[in-house]
Protein backbone atom coordinates (compact mmCIF):
# COMPACT_ATOMS: atom_id res chain seq x y z
CA UNK A 1 0.00 0.00 0.00
CA UNK A 2 2.61 2.47 1.11
CA UNK A 3 4.76 0.99 -1.60
CA UNK A 4 2.19 2.13 -4.14
CA UNK A 5 2.07 5.61 -2.71
CA UNK A 6 5.82 6.01 -2.67
CA UNK A 7 6.21 4.63 -6.15
CA UNK A 8 3.47 6.85 -7.56
CA UNK A 9 4.84 9.94 -5.86
CA UNK A 10 8.32 9.18 -6.95
CA UNK A 11 7.49 8.56 -10.57
CA UNK A 12 5.10 11.42 -11.01
CA UNK A 13 7.26 14.09 -9.49
CA UNK A 14 10.58 12.82 -10.72
CA UNK A 15 9.49 12.64 -14.30
CA UNK A 16 7.64 15.95 -14.43
CA UNK A 17 8.40 19.27 -12.82
CA UNK A 18 11.48 21.40 -13.05
CA UNK A 19 15.14 20.66 -12.66
CA UNK A 20 16.09 21.66 -9.11
CA UNK A 21 19.74 22.12 -10.03
CA UNK A 22 18.82 24.77 -12.58
CA UNK A 23 16.64 26.58 -10.14
CA UNK A 24 19.11 26.55 -7.32
CA UNK A 25 21.89 27.74 -9.55
CA UNK A 26 20.17 31.04 -10.29
CA UNK A 27 20.21 33.27 -13.31
CA UNK A 28 23.96 33.84 -13.69
CA UNK A 29 25.15 30.25 -13.20
CA UNK A 30 27.53 28.52 -15.58
CA UNK A 31 27.16 25.00 -16.93
CA UNK A 32 29.97 23.83 -14.65
CA UNK A 33 28.23 25.10 -11.54
CA UNK A 34 24.97 23.44 -12.54
CA UNK A 35 26.70 20.12 -13.16
CA UNK A 36 28.36 20.17 -9.76
CA UNK A 37 25.06 21.05 -8.09
CA UNK A 38 23.42 18.14 -9.78
CA UNK A 39 26.14 15.89 -8.44
CA UNK A 40 25.65 17.19 -4.92
CA UNK A 41 21.88 16.74 -5.04
CA UNK A 42 22.28 13.15 -6.15
CA UNK A 43 20.41 13.74 -9.39
CA UNK A 44 23.04 11.91 -11.40
CA UNK A 45 22.24 8.60 -9.79
CA UNK A 46 20.00 6.13 -11.55
CA UNK A 47 16.28 6.22 -10.79
CA UNK A 48 16.23 2.92 -8.83
CA UNK A 49 19.05 4.18 -6.60
CA UNK A 50 17.19 7.43 -6.02
CA UNK A 51 14.05 5.46 -5.22
CA UNK A 52 15.89 3.33 -2.66
CA UNK A 53 17.11 6.54 -1.03
CA UNK A 54 13.52 7.66 -0.85
CA UNK A 55 12.35 4.41 0.76
CA UNK A 56 15.05 4.83 3.38
CA UNK A 57 13.74 8.29 4.13
CA UNK A 58 10.21 6.95 4.50
CA UNK A 59 11.37 4.22 6.86
CA UNK A 60 13.03 6.70 9.20
CA UNK A 61 10.56 9.53 8.51
CA UNK A 62 13.58 11.71 7.90
CA UNK A 63 13.24 13.74 4.75
CA UNK A 64 16.42 15.75 4.91
CA UNK A 65 16.38 19.32 3.72
CA UNK A 66 14.21 21.19 1.28
CA UNK A 67 15.90 22.07 -1.98
CA UNK A 68 14.27 25.42 -2.12
CA UNK A 69 14.66 26.71 1.43
CA UNK A 70 17.44 24.38 2.61
CA UNK A 71 15.47 24.04 5.84
CA UNK A 72 14.87 20.78 7.64
CA UNK A 73 11.65 19.39 6.19
CA UNK A 74 10.25 17.92 9.38
CA UNK A 75 10.75 21.30 11.04
CA UNK A 76 8.97 23.03 8.15
CA UNK A 77 6.01 20.71 8.38
CA UNK A 78 5.81 20.85 12.16
CA UNK A 79 5.81 24.64 12.05
CA UNK A 80 2.93 24.53 9.59
CA UNK A 81 0.71 22.12 11.50
CA UNK A 82 -0.14 24.55 14.29
CA UNK A 83 -1.37 27.33 12.00
CA UNK A 84 -3.24 24.87 9.78
CA UNK A 85 -5.00 23.31 12.74
CA UNK A 86 -5.89 26.66 14.22
CA UNK A 87 -7.63 27.41 10.94
CA UNK A 88 -9.24 24.05 10.28
CA UNK A 89 -10.08 22.68 13.71
CA UNK A 90 -12.33 25.48 14.97
CA UNK A 91 -13.89 25.76 11.52
CA UNK A 92 -14.50 22.05 11.58
CA UNK A 93 -16.11 22.18 15.00
CA UNK A 94 -18.31 25.14 14.13
CA UNK A 95 -19.40 23.48 10.95
CA UNK A 96 -19.93 20.15 12.68
CA UNK A 97 -22.23 21.43 15.41
CA UNK A 98 -24.03 23.85 13.16
CA UNK A 99 -24.58 21.14 10.55
CA UNK A 100 -25.78 18.67 13.16
CA UNK A 101 -28.23 21.23 14.48
CA UNK A 102 -29.58 22.06 11.04
CA UNK A 103 -29.74 18.38 10.12
CA UNK A 104 -31.68 17.59 13.32
CA UNK A 105 -34.15 20.37 12.65
CA UNK A 106 -34.50 19.33 9.06
CA UNK A 107 -35.09 15.71 9.97
CA UNK A 108 -37.52 16.43 12.73
CA UNK A 109 -39.74 18.56 10.52
CA UNK A 110 -39.56 16.11 7.64
CA UNK A 111 -43.17 15.02 7.98
CA UNK A 112 -44.70 18.05 9.65
CA UNK A 113 -43.20 20.81 7.52
CA UNK A 114 -42.01 19.01 4.41
CA UNK A 115 -41.62 22.23 2.46
CA UNK A 116 -39.21 23.66 5.03
CA UNK A 117 -37.21 20.47 5.07
CA UNK A 118 -37.01 20.67 1.32
CA UNK A 119 -36.01 24.30 1.55
CA UNK A 120 -33.13 23.49 3.85
CA UNK A 121 -31.89 20.82 1.48
CA UNK A 122 -32.05 23.19 -1.46
CA UNK A 123 -30.33 25.90 0.53
CA UNK A 124 -27.49 23.51 1.33
CA UNK A 125 -27.23 22.51 -2.30
CA UNK A 126 -27.14 26.18 -3.26
CA UNK A 127 -24.29 26.81 -0.82
CA UNK A 128 -22.46 23.96 -2.49
CA UNK A 129 -22.99 25.41 -5.95
CA UNK A 130 -20.67 28.36 -5.52
CA UNK A 131 -16.96 27.99 -5.96
CA UNK A 132 -14.76 28.14 -2.89
CA UNK A 133 -12.67 30.77 -4.61
CA UNK A 134 -15.70 33.02 -5.11
CA UNK A 135 -16.47 32.87 -1.39
CA UNK A 136 -12.92 33.85 -0.56
CA UNK A 137 -12.56 36.67 -3.06
CA UNK A 138 -15.88 38.29 -2.28
CA UNK A 139 -15.89 37.79 1.51
CA UNK A 140 -12.38 39.16 1.81
CA UNK A 141 -13.31 42.15 -0.30
CA UNK A 142 -16.69 42.98 1.22
CA UNK A 143 -16.44 41.78 4.81
CA UNK A 144 -12.75 42.43 5.26
CA UNK A 145 -12.18 45.60 3.27
CA UNK A 146 -15.37 47.34 2.21
CA UNK A 147 -17.21 46.95 5.52
CA UNK A 148 -14.04 46.64 7.56
CA UNK A 149 -15.37 43.97 9.91
CA UNK A 150 -12.31 41.79 9.87
CA UNK A 151 -8.59 42.22 9.36
CA UNK A 152 -7.70 41.46 5.76
CA UNK A 153 -4.67 39.32 6.16
CA UNK A 154 -2.24 38.52 8.88
CA UNK A 155 -1.02 36.25 11.57
CA UNK A 156 0.26 36.37 15.07
CA UNK A 157 1.99 33.76 17.15
CA UNK A 158 0.07 34.64 20.28
CA UNK A 159 -3.52 33.46 20.43
CA UNK A 160 -4.79 36.72 21.88
CA UNK A 161 -4.03 38.44 18.58
CA UNK A 162 -4.23 35.51 16.25
CA UNK A 163 -7.91 34.65 16.55
CA UNK A 164 -8.98 38.01 15.14
CA UNK A 165 -7.24 37.13 11.89
CA UNK A 166 -8.86 33.72 11.84
CA UNK A 167 -12.52 34.59 12.25
CA UNK A 168 -13.17 35.33 8.59
CA UNK A 169 -11.39 32.20 7.32
CA UNK A 170 -13.38 30.18 9.88
CA UNK A 171 -16.62 31.63 8.58
CA UNK A 172 -15.77 30.88 4.98
CA UNK A 173 -14.56 27.40 5.75
CA UNK A 174 -17.69 26.64 7.79
CA UNK A 175 -20.03 27.89 5.10
CA UNK A 176 -18.32 25.77 2.49
CA UNK A 177 -18.50 22.58 4.52
CA UNK A 178 -21.96 23.28 5.91
CA UNK A 179 -23.83 22.09 2.83
CA UNK A 180 -22.31 18.63 2.43
CA UNK A 181 -22.26 18.02 6.18
CA UNK A 182 -25.94 18.82 6.68
CA UNK A 183 -26.91 16.55 3.82
CA UNK A 184 -24.86 13.63 5.11
CA UNK A 185 -26.07 14.03 8.68
CA UNK A 186 -29.63 14.41 7.53
CA UNK A 187 -29.50 11.19 5.56
CA UNK A 188 -27.95 9.36 8.51
CA UNK A 189 -30.67 10.62 10.81
CA UNK A 190 -33.38 9.76 8.31
CA UNK A 191 -32.04 6.20 8.16
CA UNK A 192 -32.42 6.00 11.90
CA UNK A 193 -36.00 7.20 11.70
CA UNK A 194 -36.96 4.20 9.63
CA UNK A 195 -35.82 1.78 12.34
CA UNK A 196 -38.32 -0.25 14.30
CA UNK A 197 -37.28 1.11 17.66
CA UNK A 198 -38.47 4.54 16.65
CA UNK A 199 -41.96 3.28 16.12
CA UNK A 200 -41.77 1.40 19.40
CA UNK A 201 -40.62 4.49 21.19
CA UNK A 202 -43.34 6.56 19.58
CA UNK A 203 -45.86 3.94 20.56
CA UNK A 204 -44.59 4.16 24.13
CA UNK A 205 -45.54 7.82 24.03
CA UNK A 206 -42.09 9.43 24.11
CA UNK A 207 -42.24 13.02 23.02
CA UNK A 208 -40.30 14.15 20.04
CA UNK A 209 -37.53 15.90 21.94
CA UNK A 210 -36.80 12.85 24.06
CA UNK A 211 -36.96 10.66 21.02
CA UNK A 212 -34.32 12.65 19.22
CA UNK A 213 -31.94 13.25 22.08
CA UNK A 214 -32.24 9.90 23.79
CA UNK A 215 -32.53 7.51 20.92
CA UNK A 216 -31.89 8.76 17.45
CA UNK A 217 -28.88 10.89 18.18
CA UNK A 218 -27.38 8.19 20.35
CA UNK A 219 -27.70 5.63 17.62
CA UNK A 220 -26.56 7.98 14.91
CA UNK A 221 -23.39 8.94 16.72
CA UNK A 222 -21.36 6.11 15.31
CA UNK A 223 -22.18 6.52 11.61
CA UNK A 224 -21.69 10.26 12.00
CA UNK A 225 -18.35 9.72 13.69
CA UNK A 226 -17.37 7.41 10.87
CA UNK A 227 -18.02 10.12 8.35
CA UNK A 228 -16.29 12.72 10.47
CA UNK A 229 -13.19 10.63 11.14
CA UNK A 230 -12.53 10.51 7.45
CA UNK A 231 -12.35 14.29 7.36
CA UNK A 232 -9.60 14.55 9.96
CA UNK A 233 -6.61 14.05 7.62
CA UNK A 234 -7.85 17.02 5.62
CA UNK A 235 -7.65 19.19 8.71
CA UNK A 236 -3.92 18.68 8.93
CA UNK A 237 -3.21 19.34 5.29
CA UNK A 238 -4.93 22.66 5.80
CA UNK A 239 -6.68 24.74 3.27
CA UNK A 240 -4.54 25.83 0.39
CA UNK A 241 -6.66 28.74 -0.80
CA UNK A 242 -7.60 30.15 2.59
CA UNK A 243 -4.01 30.03 3.72
CA UNK A 244 -2.79 31.85 0.63
CA UNK A 245 -5.40 34.61 0.79
CA UNK A 246 -5.36 35.19 4.52
CA UNK A 247 -1.64 34.81 5.14
CA UNK A 248 -1.85 31.77 7.39
CA UNK A 249 1.55 30.04 7.44
CA UNK A 250 0.24 26.49 7.36
CA UNK A 251 0.79 23.20 5.58
CA UNK A 252 -1.46 24.13 2.65
CA UNK A 253 0.78 27.04 1.74
CA UNK A 254 3.79 24.77 2.05
CA UNK A 255 2.16 22.35 -0.35
CA UNK A 256 1.53 25.01 -2.98
CA UNK A 257 4.97 26.44 -2.62
CA UNK A 258 6.63 23.09 -2.98
CA UNK A 259 4.61 22.30 -6.10
CA UNK A 260 5.44 25.67 -7.62
CA UNK A 261 9.14 25.34 -6.83
CA UNK A 262 9.43 21.65 -7.79
CA UNK A 263 10.67 21.15 -4.27
CA UNK A 264 10.64 17.39 -4.62
CA UNK A 265 11.79 16.40 -1.10
CA UNK A 266 8.98 18.42 0.46
CA UNK A 267 6.39 17.06 -1.97
CA UNK A 268 7.50 13.52 -1.19
CA UNK A 269 7.31 14.14 2.53
CA UNK A 270 3.86 15.73 2.38
CA UNK A 271 2.44 13.04 0.11
CA UNK A 272 3.66 10.18 2.22
CA UNK A 273 2.67 11.79 5.51
CA UNK A 274 -0.74 12.64 4.03
CA UNK A 275 -1.21 9.03 3.00
CA UNK A 276 -0.16 7.73 6.38
CA UNK A 277 -2.67 9.98 8.11
CA UNK A 278 -5.33 8.92 5.70
CA UNK A 279 -4.61 5.24 6.26
CA UNK A 280 -4.62 5.68 10.00
CA UNK A 281 -7.97 7.43 10.10
CA UNK A 282 -9.40 5.05 7.55
CA UNK A 283 -8.58 2.27 9.95
CA UNK A 284 -10.15 4.23 12.78
CA UNK A 285 -13.32 4.65 10.75
CA UNK A 286 -13.38 0.91 10.02
CA UNK A 287 -13.03 0.14 13.68
CA UNK A 288 -15.87 2.47 14.55
CA UNK A 289 -17.97 1.00 11.81
CA UNK A 290 -17.39 -2.52 13.06
CA UNK A 291 -18.66 -1.56 16.47
CA UNK A 292 -21.71 -0.08 14.87
CA UNK A 293 -22.44 -2.85 12.47
CA UNK A 294 -21.20 -6.28 13.55
CA UNK A 295 -22.11 -7.67 10.12
CA UNK A 296 -19.01 -6.05 8.66
CA UNK A 297 -15.86 -7.88 9.54
CA UNK A 298 -12.48 -6.28 9.85
CA UNK A 299 -10.10 -7.48 7.19
Amino acid sequence: MLFGVTLATFLIFNVVGGDPALQLAGKNASAEQIESLRLELGLNQSLPVQYLEFIKQVAFLDWGESWHTQQNINAMIVSGIGPSLSLTLPAFLISFFLSLLVALISTSIQSSHAAWDRGITIFCLALMSISFLVYIISFQYFLGFQWGWFPINGWDTSWTERWAFLVLPWIISSIVSLGPNVLIFRSVLTDELSNDYVRTAEAKGLNRFQLYTKHILKNAVIPIMTVVTMQIPFLVTGSLLLEAFFGIPGVGGLLIQSIQNSDFPVIKALTVLGSLLYLFFNLMADVLYTFFDPRVELK
Binding site: L125, S129, F132, V134, Y141, S275, Y278
Partner: protein, 286 residues
Protein backbone atom coordinates in the same frame (compact mmCIF):
# COMPACT_ATOMS: atom_id res chain seq x y z
CA UNK B 1 -37.40 -4.87 -10.47
CA UNK B 2 -34.40 -3.04 -11.84
CA UNK B 3 -33.94 0.17 -9.89
CA UNK B 4 -32.52 2.26 -12.69
CA UNK B 5 -35.57 1.65 -14.84
CA UNK B 6 -37.44 3.91 -12.45
CA UNK B 7 -35.33 6.81 -13.64
CA UNK B 8 -37.58 8.20 -16.37
CA UNK B 9 -40.74 7.83 -14.31
CA UNK B 10 -39.46 9.62 -11.24
CA UNK B 11 -38.84 12.78 -13.21
CA UNK B 12 -42.36 12.98 -14.42
CA UNK B 13 -43.59 12.74 -10.83
CA UNK B 14 -41.25 15.34 -9.41
CA UNK B 15 -41.83 18.86 -10.66
CA UNK B 16 -38.67 20.29 -9.07
CA UNK B 17 -36.55 17.63 -10.72
CA UNK B 18 -38.35 18.35 -13.95
CA UNK B 19 -37.48 22.03 -13.75
CA UNK B 20 -33.85 21.20 -13.01
CA UNK B 21 -33.79 18.78 -15.88
CA UNK B 22 -35.09 21.58 -18.07
CA UNK B 23 -32.34 23.93 -16.88
CA UNK B 24 -29.71 21.31 -17.57
CA UNK B 25 -31.11 20.84 -21.07
CA UNK B 26 -30.96 24.58 -21.67
CA UNK B 27 -27.28 24.53 -20.73
CA UNK B 28 -26.64 21.60 -23.03
CA UNK B 29 -28.30 23.48 -25.87
CA UNK B 30 -26.23 26.60 -25.07
CA UNK B 31 -23.08 24.51 -25.08
CA UNK B 32 -24.00 22.94 -28.41
CA UNK B 33 -24.93 26.26 -29.98
CA UNK B 34 -21.69 27.87 -28.87
CA UNK B 35 -19.61 24.98 -30.12
CA UNK B 36 -21.30 25.29 -33.53
CA UNK B 37 -20.56 29.00 -33.51
CA UNK B 38 -24.17 30.13 -33.33
CA UNK B 39 -23.86 32.09 -30.08
CA UNK B 40 -20.95 33.63 -28.21
CA UNK B 41 -19.03 33.87 -31.47
CA UNK B 42 -16.95 36.94 -30.72
CA UNK B 43 -15.60 35.69 -27.39
CA UNK B 44 -12.04 36.19 -28.59
CA UNK B 45 -12.41 39.56 -30.32
CA UNK B 46 -10.24 42.04 -28.46
CA UNK B 47 -11.19 45.71 -28.42
CA UNK B 48 -8.53 47.26 -26.25
CA UNK B 49 -10.20 50.67 -26.26
CA UNK B 50 -13.24 49.12 -24.52
CA UNK B 51 -11.23 47.56 -21.70
CA UNK B 52 -13.39 46.98 -18.60
CA UNK B 53 -16.53 48.70 -19.77
CA UNK B 54 -19.47 48.23 -17.45
CA UNK B 55 -22.56 46.25 -18.50
CA UNK B 56 -24.56 48.05 -21.17
CA UNK B 57 -27.06 47.31 -23.91
CA UNK B 58 -24.35 46.27 -26.35
CA UNK B 59 -22.39 44.25 -23.77
CA UNK B 60 -24.85 42.73 -21.31
CA UNK B 61 -22.18 41.64 -18.88
CA UNK B 62 -19.64 44.32 -19.77
CA UNK B 63 -16.21 43.63 -21.16
CA UNK B 64 -13.03 42.23 -19.67
CA UNK B 65 -9.50 43.61 -19.55
CA UNK B 66 -8.90 43.07 -23.25
CA UNK B 67 -12.29 44.50 -24.15
CA UNK B 68 -13.81 41.12 -24.94
CA UNK B 69 -17.51 40.65 -24.41
CA UNK B 70 -18.04 38.92 -21.07
CA UNK B 71 -21.44 37.55 -22.09
CA UNK B 72 -19.92 35.84 -25.12
CA UNK B 73 -17.14 34.49 -22.94
CA UNK B 74 -19.44 33.17 -20.29
CA UNK B 75 -21.55 31.46 -22.96
CA UNK B 76 -18.46 29.94 -24.44
CA UNK B 77 -17.44 28.99 -20.92
CA UNK B 78 -20.64 26.95 -20.73
CA UNK B 79 -19.33 24.80 -23.53
CA UNK B 80 -16.03 24.30 -21.70
CA UNK B 81 -17.80 23.46 -18.45
CA UNK B 82 -20.19 21.02 -20.08
CA UNK B 83 -17.36 19.34 -21.96
CA UNK B 84 -15.19 19.11 -18.86
CA UNK B 85 -18.07 17.77 -16.81
CA UNK B 86 -19.23 15.34 -19.51
CA UNK B 87 -15.86 13.79 -20.32
CA UNK B 88 -14.52 13.75 -16.79
CA UNK B 89 -17.71 12.09 -15.55
CA UNK B 90 -17.89 9.66 -18.47
CA UNK B 91 -14.30 8.54 -18.08
CA UNK B 92 -14.41 8.15 -14.33
CA UNK B 93 -17.84 6.49 -14.20
CA UNK B 94 -16.99 4.00 -16.92
CA UNK B 95 -13.62 3.26 -15.41
CA UNK B 96 -15.08 2.92 -11.94
CA UNK B 97 -17.88 0.68 -13.15
CA UNK B 98 -15.59 -1.63 -15.10
CA UNK B 99 -12.94 -1.98 -12.45
CA UNK B 100 -15.50 -2.24 -9.66
CA UNK B 101 -17.41 -4.91 -11.55
CA UNK B 102 -14.30 -6.95 -12.26
CA UNK B 103 -13.09 -6.70 -8.69
CA UNK B 104 -16.44 -7.48 -7.11
CA UNK B 105 -17.35 -10.26 -9.46
CA UNK B 106 -14.11 -12.17 -9.80
CA UNK B 107 -12.58 -11.49 -6.39
CA UNK B 108 -9.22 -13.07 -5.72
CA UNK B 109 -6.17 -11.40 -7.15
CA UNK B 110 -8.22 -9.14 -9.45
CA UNK B 111 -10.01 -7.79 -6.43
CA UNK B 112 -6.74 -7.36 -4.53
CA UNK B 113 -5.21 -5.49 -7.42
CA UNK B 114 -8.12 -3.14 -7.96
CA UNK B 115 -8.55 -2.50 -4.25
CA UNK B 116 -4.86 -1.79 -3.92
CA UNK B 117 -5.00 0.58 -6.87
CA UNK B 118 -7.89 2.65 -5.61
CA UNK B 119 -6.72 2.63 -2.02
CA UNK B 120 -3.40 4.01 -3.21
CA UNK B 121 -5.01 6.73 -5.28
CA UNK B 122 -7.41 7.57 -2.52
CA UNK B 123 -4.75 7.94 0.12
CA UNK B 124 -2.71 10.51 -1.81
CA UNK B 125 -3.96 13.98 -0.91
CA UNK B 126 -6.35 14.90 -3.73
CA UNK B 127 -4.81 18.22 -4.61
CA UNK B 128 -1.36 16.64 -5.02
CA UNK B 129 -2.82 13.84 -7.07
CA UNK B 130 -4.73 16.07 -9.44
CA UNK B 131 -1.83 18.49 -9.82
CA UNK B 132 0.50 15.61 -10.53
CA UNK B 133 -1.80 14.33 -13.27
CA UNK B 134 -2.42 17.78 -14.67
CA UNK B 135 1.30 18.55 -14.59
CA UNK B 136 2.34 15.37 -16.33
CA UNK B 137 -0.41 15.53 -18.97
CA UNK B 138 0.22 19.18 -19.71
CA UNK B 139 -2.18 21.98 -20.50
CA UNK B 140 -5.25 21.81 -22.63
CA UNK B 141 -8.89 20.89 -22.51
CA UNK B 142 -8.55 17.21 -23.39
CA UNK B 143 -5.79 16.72 -20.84
CA UNK B 144 -8.01 18.32 -18.26
CA UNK B 145 -10.74 15.72 -18.93
CA UNK B 146 -8.19 12.98 -18.62
CA UNK B 147 -6.69 14.26 -15.39
CA UNK B 148 -10.12 14.67 -13.82
CA UNK B 149 -11.38 11.38 -15.21
CA UNK B 150 -8.38 9.33 -14.18
CA UNK B 151 -8.47 10.59 -10.61
CA UNK B 152 -12.23 10.60 -10.09
CA UNK B 153 -13.22 6.95 -10.47
CA UNK B 154 -12.41 5.70 -6.99
CA UNK B 155 -15.78 6.28 -5.34
CA UNK B 156 -17.69 4.72 -8.22
CA UNK B 157 -15.37 1.74 -8.20
CA UNK B 158 -15.77 1.18 -4.49
CA UNK B 159 -19.57 1.34 -4.66
CA UNK B 160 -19.81 -0.91 -7.70
CA UNK B 161 -17.50 -3.43 -6.13
CA UNK B 162 -19.70 -3.51 -3.04
CA UNK B 163 -22.84 -4.05 -5.10
CA UNK B 164 -21.25 -6.79 -7.18
CA UNK B 165 -20.07 -8.59 -4.07
CA UNK B 166 -23.66 -8.57 -2.85
CA UNK B 167 -25.34 -9.41 -6.13
CA UNK B 168 -23.11 -12.20 -7.40
CA UNK B 169 -24.45 -14.63 -4.78
CA UNK B 170 -28.10 -13.65 -5.16
CA UNK B 171 -30.52 -16.18 -6.56
CA UNK B 172 -31.02 -14.63 -9.96
CA UNK B 173 -27.31 -14.69 -10.73
CA UNK B 174 -26.83 -18.18 -9.41
CA UNK B 175 -29.80 -19.24 -11.51
CA UNK B 176 -28.27 -17.65 -14.59
CA UNK B 177 -25.07 -19.54 -13.96
CA UNK B 178 -27.03 -22.76 -13.70
CA UNK B 179 -28.52 -22.26 -17.15
CA UNK B 180 -25.02 -21.76 -18.53
CA UNK B 181 -24.64 -17.98 -18.79
CA UNK B 182 -21.00 -17.00 -19.19
CA UNK B 183 -19.15 -14.67 -16.81
CA UNK B 184 -19.52 -11.75 -19.18
CA UNK B 185 -23.21 -12.35 -19.69
CA UNK B 186 -23.71 -12.43 -15.97
CA UNK B 187 -21.66 -9.27 -15.40
CA UNK B 188 -23.14 -7.17 -18.15
CA UNK B 189 -26.60 -8.56 -18.78
CA UNK B 190 -27.59 -9.55 -15.31
CA UNK B 191 -25.81 -7.62 -12.61
CA UNK B 192 -24.86 -4.34 -14.28
CA UNK B 193 -28.42 -3.16 -14.91
CA UNK B 194 -29.04 -3.60 -11.19
CA UNK B 195 -26.26 -1.23 -10.19
CA UNK B 196 -26.78 1.36 -12.91
CA UNK B 197 -28.63 3.70 -10.58
CA UNK B 198 -25.38 4.16 -8.68
CA UNK B 199 -23.70 5.07 -11.91
CA UNK B 200 -26.34 7.73 -12.61
CA UNK B 201 -25.82 9.35 -9.24
CA UNK B 202 -22.06 9.13 -9.33
CA UNK B 203 -22.05 10.49 -12.83
CA UNK B 204 -23.81 13.69 -11.81
CA UNK B 205 -21.68 14.09 -8.71
CA UNK B 206 -18.48 13.78 -10.73
CA UNK B 207 -19.92 16.17 -13.29
CA UNK B 208 -20.32 18.87 -10.63
CA UNK B 209 -17.03 18.03 -9.01
CA UNK B 210 -15.17 18.45 -12.31
CA UNK B 211 -16.65 21.89 -12.91
CA UNK B 212 -15.69 23.02 -9.42
CA UNK B 213 -12.21 21.56 -9.51
CA UNK B 214 -11.58 23.36 -12.78
CA UNK B 215 -11.72 26.64 -10.86
CA UNK B 216 -9.11 25.49 -8.40
CA UNK B 217 -6.90 24.11 -11.14
CA UNK B 218 -7.10 27.43 -12.93
CA UNK B 219 -5.91 29.05 -9.73
CA UNK B 220 -2.91 26.74 -9.76
CA UNK B 221 -2.30 27.45 -13.45
CA UNK B 222 -3.18 23.90 -14.43
CA UNK B 223 -6.46 24.53 -16.17
CA UNK B 224 -7.38 25.09 -19.80
CA UNK B 225 -5.08 26.65 -22.35
CA UNK B 226 -4.82 30.43 -22.12
CA UNK B 227 -7.30 32.13 -24.40
CA UNK B 228 -10.02 29.54 -23.79
CA UNK B 229 -12.67 31.23 -21.71
CA UNK B 230 -13.56 28.94 -18.85
CA UNK B 231 -15.50 29.94 -15.75
CA UNK B 232 -12.49 29.09 -13.64
CA UNK B 233 -10.27 31.45 -15.60
CA UNK B 234 -12.87 34.21 -15.34
CA UNK B 235 -13.21 33.79 -11.58
CA UNK B 236 -9.46 33.80 -11.18
CA UNK B 237 -9.11 36.97 -13.20
CA UNK B 238 -11.51 38.62 -10.79
CA UNK B 239 -9.00 38.24 -7.96
CA UNK B 240 -7.66 41.71 -8.64
CA UNK B 241 -10.63 43.15 -10.53
CA UNK B 242 -13.07 43.33 -7.65
CA UNK B 243 -11.05 45.94 -5.81
CA UNK B 244 -11.24 48.27 -8.80
CA UNK B 245 -14.97 47.86 -9.03
CA UNK B 246 -15.08 45.38 -11.88
CA UNK B 247 -17.58 42.86 -10.56
CA UNK B 248 -19.19 41.68 -13.80
CA UNK B 249 -16.59 39.12 -14.79
CA UNK B 250 -16.88 37.43 -11.40
CA UNK B 251 -20.65 37.83 -11.29
CA UNK B 252 -21.27 36.42 -14.77
CA UNK B 253 -19.11 33.36 -14.27
CA UNK B 254 -20.43 32.72 -10.77
CA UNK B 255 -24.05 33.12 -11.85
CA UNK B 256 -23.76 30.77 -14.81
CA UNK B 257 -21.91 28.24 -12.74
CA UNK B 258 -24.30 28.55 -9.83
CA UNK B 259 -27.42 27.87 -11.88
CA UNK B 260 -25.98 24.84 -13.65
CA UNK B 261 -24.37 23.30 -10.59
CA UNK B 262 -27.45 23.93 -8.48
CA UNK B 263 -29.69 22.35 -11.09
CA UNK B 264 -27.52 19.26 -11.29
CA UNK B 265 -27.21 19.18 -7.51
CA UNK B 266 -30.96 19.26 -6.93
CA UNK B 267 -31.61 16.84 -9.76
CA UNK B 268 -29.09 14.40 -8.31
CA UNK B 269 -30.54 14.78 -4.86
CA UNK B 270 -34.06 14.03 -6.10
CA UNK B 271 -32.81 11.17 -8.21
CA UNK B 272 -30.85 9.77 -5.31
CA UNK B 273 -33.86 9.85 -3.04
CA UNK B 274 -36.04 8.21 -5.66
CA UNK B 275 -33.65 5.52 -6.82
CA UNK B 276 -31.40 4.80 -3.94
CA UNK B 277 -32.71 6.13 -0.65
CA UNK B 278 -29.80 4.59 1.21
CA UNK B 279 -27.17 6.49 -0.75
CA UNK B 280 -25.47 9.39 0.93
CA UNK B 281 -24.28 12.45 -0.82
CA UNK B 282 -20.73 13.25 -0.06
CA UNK B 283 -18.90 16.00 -1.74
CA UNK B 284 -15.57 16.95 -0.27
CA UNK B 285 -14.25 20.36 -0.98
CA UNK B 286 -10.75 20.76 -2.31
Amino acid sequence: MIVSSRAPTFISKDSLALICFGVICVYLVLALLSSFGVIGVDYATTRLQLSYSAPSASHWFGTDFLGRDVFARVLHGTQVAVLVGFFAASISTTLGLMLGALAGYFGGWVDDLVTWLYATLESIPYILLISAFAFSLGQGLSNLYLALGLTGWVKMCRLTRGEFLKHKNLDYVVAAEAVGASHWTRIFKHITPNVLHIAYIQYSLTFIHAIKVEVILSYLGLGVEPGTPSWGVMINDAKSELSRGVWWNLAAATLFMFVLVLAVNIFTDRMGKALDPKSRASNFEV
